[in-house]
Protein backbone atom coordinates (compact mmCIF):
# COMPACT_ATOMS: atom_id res chain seq x y z
CA UNK A 1 0.00 0.00 0.00
CA UNK A 2 2.72 2.46 1.07
CA UNK A 3 4.79 1.48 -1.96
CA UNK A 4 1.97 2.39 -4.35
CA UNK A 5 1.41 5.64 -2.48
CA UNK A 6 5.10 6.44 -2.89
CA UNK A 7 4.94 5.64 -6.62
CA UNK A 8 1.88 7.91 -7.08
CA UNK A 9 3.55 10.73 -5.13
CA UNK A 10 6.66 10.40 -7.33
CA UNK A 11 4.58 10.52 -10.52
CA UNK A 12 2.95 13.71 -9.23
CA UNK A 13 6.35 15.17 -8.25
CA UNK A 14 7.72 14.44 -11.75
CA UNK A 15 4.60 15.90 -13.37
CA UNK A 16 4.65 19.13 -11.35
CA UNK A 17 8.43 19.45 -11.62
CA UNK A 18 8.28 19.17 -15.39
CA UNK A 19 5.29 21.50 -15.71
CA UNK A 20 6.88 24.23 -13.59
CA UNK A 21 10.45 23.70 -14.82
CA UNK A 22 11.75 22.93 -11.33
CA UNK A 23 12.60 19.22 -11.53
CA UNK A 24 11.18 16.48 -9.32
CA UNK A 25 13.79 16.63 -6.53
CA UNK A 26 12.43 19.83 -5.05
CA UNK A 27 9.10 18.09 -4.40
CA UNK A 28 10.13 14.51 -3.66
CA UNK A 29 12.62 15.24 -0.84
CA UNK A 30 10.03 17.10 1.32
CA UNK A 31 7.40 14.45 0.42
CA UNK A 32 9.67 11.56 1.47
CA UNK A 33 10.72 13.22 4.72
CA UNK A 34 7.54 14.99 5.83
CA UNK A 35 4.89 12.54 4.55
CA UNK A 36 6.65 9.16 4.54
CA UNK A 37 9.05 9.91 7.44
CA UNK A 38 12.06 8.61 5.49
CA UNK A 39 15.44 9.75 6.83
CA UNK A 40 16.58 12.82 4.87
CA UNK A 41 19.88 11.13 3.86
CA UNK A 42 18.03 8.28 2.07
CA UNK A 43 15.59 10.82 0.58
CA UNK A 44 18.41 12.94 -0.87
CA UNK A 45 20.20 9.91 -2.33
CA UNK A 46 16.99 8.60 -3.95
CA UNK A 47 16.19 12.03 -5.35
CA UNK A 48 19.64 12.31 -6.95
CA UNK A 49 19.07 9.00 -8.77
CA UNK A 50 15.81 10.36 -10.20
CA UNK A 51 17.61 13.55 -11.31
CA UNK A 52 20.17 11.41 -13.21
CA UNK A 53 17.40 9.37 -14.84
CA UNK A 54 15.25 12.30 -15.99
CA UNK A 55 18.16 14.42 -17.22
CA UNK A 56 19.95 11.59 -19.07
CA UNK A 57 16.71 10.50 -20.69
CA UNK A 58 15.86 14.00 -21.89
CA UNK A 59 19.36 15.09 -23.04
CA UNK A 60 18.52 14.37 -26.69
CA UNK A 61 15.55 16.73 -26.70
CA UNK A 62 17.68 19.56 -25.28
CA UNK A 63 20.25 19.11 -28.07
CA UNK A 64 17.67 18.79 -30.84
CA UNK A 65 16.41 22.35 -30.49
CA UNK A 66 19.89 23.80 -31.25
CA UNK A 67 19.78 25.78 -28.02
CA UNK A 68 22.32 23.80 -25.95
CA UNK A 69 25.88 25.14 -26.02
CA UNK A 70 27.89 21.92 -25.70
CA UNK A 71 31.21 23.76 -25.27
CA UNK A 72 29.88 25.87 -22.40
CA UNK A 73 28.38 22.73 -20.84
CA UNK A 74 31.72 20.84 -20.87
CA UNK A 75 33.60 23.74 -19.22
CA UNK A 76 30.96 24.39 -16.58
CA UNK A 77 30.72 20.67 -15.76
CA UNK A 78 34.24 21.03 -14.30
CA UNK A 79 32.78 23.50 -11.77
CA UNK A 80 29.59 21.57 -10.98
CA UNK A 81 31.26 18.16 -10.61
CA UNK A 82 34.01 19.59 -8.35
CA UNK A 83 31.25 21.21 -6.30
CA UNK A 84 29.29 17.94 -6.13
CA UNK A 85 32.36 16.15 -4.74
CA UNK A 86 32.70 18.87 -2.07
CA UNK A 87 28.98 18.58 -1.32
CA UNK A 88 29.22 14.81 -0.91
CA UNK A 89 32.13 15.20 1.52
CA UNK A 90 30.29 17.94 3.43
CA UNK A 91 27.14 15.79 3.66
CA UNK A 92 29.08 13.22 5.70
CA UNK A 93 29.94 15.84 8.33
CA UNK A 94 26.66 17.76 8.45
CA UNK A 95 23.82 16.91 10.86
CA UNK A 96 20.43 15.96 9.36
CA UNK A 97 18.83 18.95 11.12
CA UNK A 98 20.98 21.34 9.13
CA UNK A 99 20.03 19.60 5.87
CA UNK A 100 16.34 20.24 6.66
CA UNK A 101 17.10 23.89 7.41
CA UNK A 102 19.16 24.33 4.23
CA UNK A 103 16.48 22.64 2.13
CA UNK A 104 13.84 24.95 3.61
CA UNK A 105 15.90 28.03 2.74
CA UNK A 106 16.45 26.67 -0.79
CA UNK A 107 12.69 26.14 -1.25
CA UNK A 108 12.01 29.70 -0.16
CA UNK A 109 14.61 30.98 -2.62
CA UNK A 110 13.06 28.87 -5.40
CA UNK A 111 9.62 30.28 -4.59
CA UNK A 112 10.94 33.85 -4.89
CA UNK A 113 12.74 33.00 -8.14
CA UNK A 114 9.50 31.63 -9.61
CA UNK A 115 7.97 35.08 -9.27
CA UNK A 116 10.86 36.74 -11.10
CA UNK A 117 10.20 38.04 -14.59
CA UNK A 118 12.98 37.19 -17.03
CA UNK A 119 13.70 38.98 -20.26
CA UNK A 120 15.68 37.70 -23.24
CA UNK A 121 19.10 39.24 -23.91
CA UNK A 122 22.25 38.49 -25.92
CA UNK A 123 25.71 39.78 -25.04
CA UNK A 124 28.09 41.29 -27.57
CA UNK A 125 31.14 41.16 -25.26
CA UNK A 126 33.32 38.04 -25.47
CA UNK A 127 35.44 37.05 -22.46
CA UNK A 128 39.07 36.05 -23.10
CA UNK A 129 38.40 32.41 -22.13
CA UNK A 130 35.36 32.41 -24.37
CA UNK A 131 37.49 33.59 -27.31
CA UNK A 132 40.10 30.92 -26.62
CA UNK A 133 37.53 28.10 -26.33
CA UNK A 134 35.21 29.47 -29.04
CA UNK A 135 32.19 29.55 -26.73
CA UNK A 136 30.19 32.16 -28.67
CA UNK A 137 27.30 30.75 -30.66
CA UNK A 138 23.91 31.42 -32.16
CA UNK A 139 20.36 30.27 -31.50
CA UNK A 140 17.02 30.30 -33.31
CA UNK A 141 14.77 33.21 -32.32
CA UNK A 142 10.98 33.11 -32.02
CA UNK A 143 10.52 33.88 -35.72
CA UNK A 144 13.15 31.36 -36.81
CA UNK A 145 15.89 34.00 -37.31
CA UNK A 146 19.45 33.12 -36.23
CA UNK A 147 20.58 35.28 -33.31
CA UNK A 148 24.31 35.39 -32.45
CA UNK A 149 25.55 35.73 -28.85
CA UNK A 150 28.84 35.99 -27.00
CA UNK A 151 29.86 34.82 -23.54
CA UNK A 152 30.94 37.13 -20.69
CA UNK A 153 32.55 36.47 -17.29
CA UNK A 154 33.37 32.73 -17.63
CA UNK A 155 35.36 32.52 -14.31
CA UNK A 156 32.41 33.91 -12.29
CA UNK A 157 30.12 31.43 -14.04
CA UNK A 158 32.46 28.60 -13.01
CA UNK A 159 32.47 29.76 -9.36
CA UNK A 160 28.64 29.89 -9.23
CA UNK A 161 28.52 26.47 -10.89
CA UNK A 162 30.80 25.10 -8.17
CA UNK A 163 28.29 26.19 -5.51
CA UNK A 164 25.42 24.80 -7.61
CA UNK A 165 27.24 21.44 -7.51
CA UNK A 166 27.71 21.66 -3.72
CA UNK A 167 23.98 22.27 -3.21
CA UNK A 168 23.03 19.52 -5.67
CA UNK A 169 24.92 16.91 -3.62
CA UNK A 170 23.82 18.30 -0.25
CA UNK A 171 20.11 18.57 -1.06
CA UNK A 172 19.54 15.94 -3.77
CA UNK A 173 18.43 18.46 -6.38
CA UNK A 174 19.43 19.29 -9.96
CA UNK A 175 20.34 22.89 -8.97
CA UNK A 176 18.91 24.11 -12.27
CA UNK A 177 17.95 27.47 -10.71
CA UNK A 178 21.58 28.26 -9.81
CA UNK A 179 22.92 26.95 -13.11
CA UNK A 180 20.57 29.19 -15.05
CA UNK A 181 21.52 32.11 -12.75
CA UNK A 182 25.23 31.56 -13.52
CA UNK A 183 24.70 31.47 -17.28
CA UNK A 184 21.90 34.00 -17.52
CA UNK A 185 23.13 36.63 -15.03
CA UNK A 186 26.92 36.16 -14.84
CA UNK A 187 27.83 34.93 -18.32
CA UNK A 188 25.00 36.86 -20.03
CA UNK A 189 23.94 33.92 -22.16
CA UNK A 190 20.46 34.18 -23.71
CA UNK A 191 17.74 32.79 -21.42
CA UNK A 192 16.75 29.96 -23.78
CA UNK A 193 20.40 28.88 -24.20
CA UNK A 194 20.93 29.02 -20.40
CA UNK A 195 17.89 26.85 -19.68
CA UNK A 196 18.71 24.24 -22.35
CA UNK A 197 22.42 24.04 -21.41
CA UNK A 198 21.55 23.81 -17.70
CA UNK A 199 19.08 20.95 -18.29
CA UNK A 200 21.65 19.16 -20.43
CA UNK A 201 24.29 19.38 -17.66
CA UNK A 202 22.12 18.44 -14.68
CA UNK A 203 22.56 14.67 -15.12
CA UNK A 204 26.36 14.82 -15.06
CA UNK A 205 26.38 16.99 -11.91
CA UNK A 206 23.98 14.67 -10.11
CA UNK A 207 25.94 11.58 -11.20
CA UNK A 208 29.04 12.71 -9.30
CA UNK A 209 27.28 12.56 -5.94
CA UNK A 210 24.66 9.90 -6.83
CA UNK A 211 27.46 7.44 -7.71
CA UNK A 212 29.27 8.18 -4.46
CA UNK A 213 26.04 7.83 -2.42
CA UNK A 214 25.24 4.55 -4.23
CA UNK A 215 28.64 3.04 -3.40
CA UNK A 216 28.37 4.32 0.17
CA UNK A 217 25.08 2.43 0.50
CA UNK A 218 22.76 5.44 0.94
CA UNK A 219 20.80 4.71 -2.25
CA UNK A 220 18.24 2.10 -1.16
CA UNK A 221 16.38 0.41 -4.04
CA UNK A 222 13.23 0.15 -1.91
CA UNK A 223 12.99 3.97 -2.10
CA UNK A 224 15.03 4.87 -5.18
CA UNK A 225 13.27 2.44 -7.55
CA UNK A 226 9.66 3.68 -7.12
CA UNK A 227 10.86 7.31 -6.87
CA UNK A 228 12.88 7.11 -10.12
CA UNK A 229 10.26 5.18 -12.07
CA UNK A 230 7.52 7.53 -10.80
CA UNK A 231 9.43 10.70 -11.59
CA UNK A 232 10.41 9.46 -15.08
CA UNK A 233 6.72 8.70 -15.81
CA UNK A 234 5.55 12.00 -14.28
CA UNK A 235 8.09 14.10 -16.20
CA UNK A 236 7.15 12.39 -19.44
CA UNK A 237 3.47 13.07 -18.72
CA UNK A 238 4.24 16.71 -17.82
CA UNK A 239 6.27 17.28 -20.99
CA UNK A 240 3.42 15.94 -23.14
CA UNK A 241 0.70 17.90 -21.38
CA UNK A 242 2.63 21.18 -21.38
CA UNK A 243 1.75 23.18 -24.48
CA UNK A 244 2.73 26.46 -22.90
CA UNK A 245 3.85 27.60 -19.46
CA UNK A 246 1.18 27.17 -16.77
CA UNK A 247 -1.08 30.11 -16.10
CA UNK A 248 0.18 32.77 -13.65
CA UNK A 249 -2.51 31.71 -11.16
CA UNK A 250 -1.29 28.08 -10.99
CA UNK A 251 2.26 29.38 -10.65
CA UNK A 252 1.28 31.67 -7.78
CA UNK A 253 -0.57 28.83 -5.99
CA UNK A 254 2.52 26.65 -6.32
CA UNK A 255 4.74 29.45 -4.96
CA UNK A 256 2.48 29.54 -1.89
CA UNK A 257 2.69 25.73 -1.49
CA UNK A 258 6.49 25.90 -1.78
CA UNK A 259 6.60 28.64 0.86
CA UNK A 260 4.48 26.56 3.29
CA UNK A 261 6.66 23.46 2.77
CA UNK A 262 9.82 25.54 3.18
CA UNK A 263 8.59 26.83 6.57
CA UNK A 264 7.88 23.22 7.65
CA UNK A 265 11.37 22.12 6.58
CA UNK A 266 13.01 25.09 8.35
CA UNK A 267 11.02 24.38 11.54
CA UNK A 268 12.07 20.71 11.42
CA UNK A 269 15.64 21.86 11.03
CA UNK A 270 15.38 24.14 14.05
CA UNK A 271 13.59 21.61 16.28
Amino acid sequence: MYELLLLSTSVLAGFLGSLLGLGGGIIIVPALTLLFHVNIRYAIAASLISVVATSSGAAASYLKDNLTNLRVAVILEVGTVTGAITGFLLAQKIQSRFLFFLFGVFLLFSAVMMLRKRSEHASQKDHLWSQKLKLAGSYPGDRGQILPYKVENVPLGLVIMYFAGVLSALLGIGSGIFKVLAMDQAMKLPMKVSSATSNFMIGVTATASAGAFLLRGDVRPEIAAPVSVGIILGSWWGAHVMVKLPSPLIRKIFVLVLAVISVQMILKGLS
Partner: protein, 123 residues
Protein backbone atom coordinates in the same frame (compact mmCIF):
# COMPACT_ATOMS: atom_id res chain seq x y z
CA UNK B 1 30.80 23.21 -39.57
CA UNK B 2 33.07 21.27 -37.26
CA UNK B 3 30.80 22.23 -34.36
CA UNK B 4 27.75 20.91 -36.23
CA UNK B 5 29.41 17.50 -36.66
CA UNK B 6 30.12 17.27 -32.93
CA UNK B 7 26.52 18.26 -32.16
CA UNK B 8 25.16 15.59 -34.55
CA UNK B 9 27.28 12.88 -32.96
CA UNK B 10 26.43 14.13 -29.47
CA UNK B 11 22.75 13.90 -30.43
CA UNK B 12 23.27 10.26 -31.44
CA UNK B 13 24.92 9.56 -28.07
CA UNK B 14 21.99 11.23 -26.30
CA UNK B 15 19.51 9.04 -28.21
CA UNK B 16 21.45 5.98 -27.06
CA UNK B 17 21.32 7.34 -23.49
CA UNK B 18 17.53 7.56 -23.72
CA UNK B 19 17.37 3.83 -24.52
CA UNK B 20 19.84 3.18 -21.71
CA UNK B 21 17.63 5.02 -19.21
CA UNK B 22 14.63 3.03 -20.43
CA UNK B 23 16.51 -0.25 -19.91
CA UNK B 24 17.67 0.81 -16.44
CA UNK B 25 14.06 1.82 -15.67
CA UNK B 26 12.85 -1.67 -16.67
CA UNK B 27 15.37 -3.28 -14.29
CA UNK B 28 14.33 -0.90 -11.49
CA UNK B 29 10.62 -1.56 -12.10
CA UNK B 30 11.02 -5.36 -12.26
CA UNK B 31 13.19 -5.36 -9.14
CA UNK B 32 10.74 -3.14 -7.27
CA UNK B 33 7.71 -5.27 -8.28
CA UNK B 34 9.51 -8.32 -6.89
CA UNK B 35 10.20 -6.44 -3.68
CA UNK B 36 6.55 -5.45 -3.14
CA UNK B 37 5.17 -6.63 0.18
CA UNK B 38 1.76 -5.21 1.05
CA UNK B 39 1.67 -6.83 4.50
CA UNK B 40 3.96 -4.18 6.02
CA UNK B 41 5.32 -0.67 5.51
CA UNK B 42 8.85 -1.19 4.15
CA UNK B 43 9.63 2.53 4.50
CA UNK B 44 9.60 2.19 8.30
CA UNK B 45 13.04 0.58 8.05
CA UNK B 46 14.38 3.85 6.64
CA UNK B 47 13.16 6.16 9.37
CA UNK B 48 16.60 6.06 10.98
CA UNK B 49 19.89 6.17 9.13
CA UNK B 50 22.09 3.04 9.26
CA UNK B 51 25.52 2.99 7.70
CA UNK B 52 25.78 0.01 5.37
CA UNK B 53 27.96 0.13 2.27
CA UNK B 54 26.89 -1.18 -1.14
CA UNK B 55 29.28 -4.13 -0.88
CA UNK B 56 27.67 -5.27 2.37
CA UNK B 57 24.13 -4.74 1.01
CA UNK B 58 24.93 -6.80 -2.10
CA UNK B 59 26.52 -9.56 0.00
CA UNK B 60 23.41 -9.78 2.20
CA UNK B 61 21.06 -9.71 -0.78
CA UNK B 62 23.01 -12.55 -2.44
CA UNK B 63 23.10 -14.56 0.78
CA UNK B 64 19.33 -14.19 1.27
CA UNK B 65 18.64 -14.69 -2.46
CA UNK B 66 16.77 -11.37 -2.70
CA UNK B 67 16.59 -11.30 -6.50
CA UNK B 68 14.30 -8.26 -6.55
CA UNK B 69 16.84 -6.20 -4.65
CA UNK B 70 19.69 -7.44 -6.87
CA UNK B 71 17.75 -6.63 -10.06
CA UNK B 72 17.05 -3.10 -8.78
CA UNK B 73 20.73 -2.64 -7.89
CA UNK B 74 21.63 -3.74 -11.43
CA UNK B 75 19.32 -1.04 -12.78
CA UNK B 76 20.87 1.57 -10.47
CA UNK B 77 24.42 0.63 -11.50
CA UNK B 78 23.50 0.77 -15.17
CA UNK B 79 21.74 4.13 -14.76
CA UNK B 80 24.70 5.72 -12.96
CA UNK B 81 27.18 4.57 -15.60
CA UNK B 82 25.27 6.26 -18.45
CA UNK B 83 26.36 9.91 -17.85
CA UNK B 84 29.89 8.65 -17.21
CA UNK B 85 29.83 7.05 -20.65
CA UNK B 86 28.42 10.23 -22.19
CA UNK B 87 31.25 12.40 -20.83
CA UNK B 88 33.86 9.89 -22.04
CA UNK B 89 32.35 9.77 -25.53
CA UNK B 90 32.11 13.58 -25.66
CA UNK B 91 35.85 13.72 -24.88
CA UNK B 92 36.59 11.23 -27.68
CA UNK B 93 34.40 13.28 -30.06
CA UNK B 94 36.31 16.48 -29.31
CA UNK B 95 39.59 14.63 -29.73
CA UNK B 96 38.51 13.33 -33.14
CA UNK B 97 37.60 16.88 -34.15
CA UNK B 98 41.05 18.06 -32.96
CA UNK B 99 39.49 20.26 -30.26
CA UNK B 100 42.25 19.31 -27.83
CA UNK B 101 41.51 21.78 -25.03
CA UNK B 102 37.83 20.81 -24.85
CA UNK B 103 38.78 17.12 -25.05
CA UNK B 104 41.14 17.58 -22.08
CA UNK B 105 38.32 19.29 -20.14
CA UNK B 106 35.86 16.47 -20.93
CA UNK B 107 38.39 13.82 -19.86
CA UNK B 108 39.05 15.83 -16.69
CA UNK B 109 35.31 15.77 -15.89
CA UNK B 110 35.37 11.99 -16.50
CA UNK B 111 38.31 11.67 -14.09
CA UNK B 112 36.44 13.75 -11.47
CA UNK B 113 33.39 11.50 -11.79
CA UNK B 114 35.51 8.36 -11.26
CA UNK B 115 37.18 10.09 -8.29
CA UNK B 116 33.82 10.94 -6.72
CA UNK B 117 32.67 7.31 -7.10
CA UNK B 118 35.83 6.09 -5.37
CA UNK B 119 35.15 8.48 -2.47
CA UNK B 120 31.87 6.61 -1.91
CA UNK B 121 33.83 3.38 -1.43
CA UNK B 122 36.41 4.87 0.89
CA UNK B 123 34.12 6.83 3.21
Amino acid sequence: MKNDEVMKLELKISHLLRWGVLLAGVFLLLGWIRLLDFSQNPLLAFHDYHEQGLKESLRLALEQKQWGLLTAYLGLGFLISLPLLRVLMTGILFLKEKERLLAVLAFFVFFLLVLSFSLGIEL
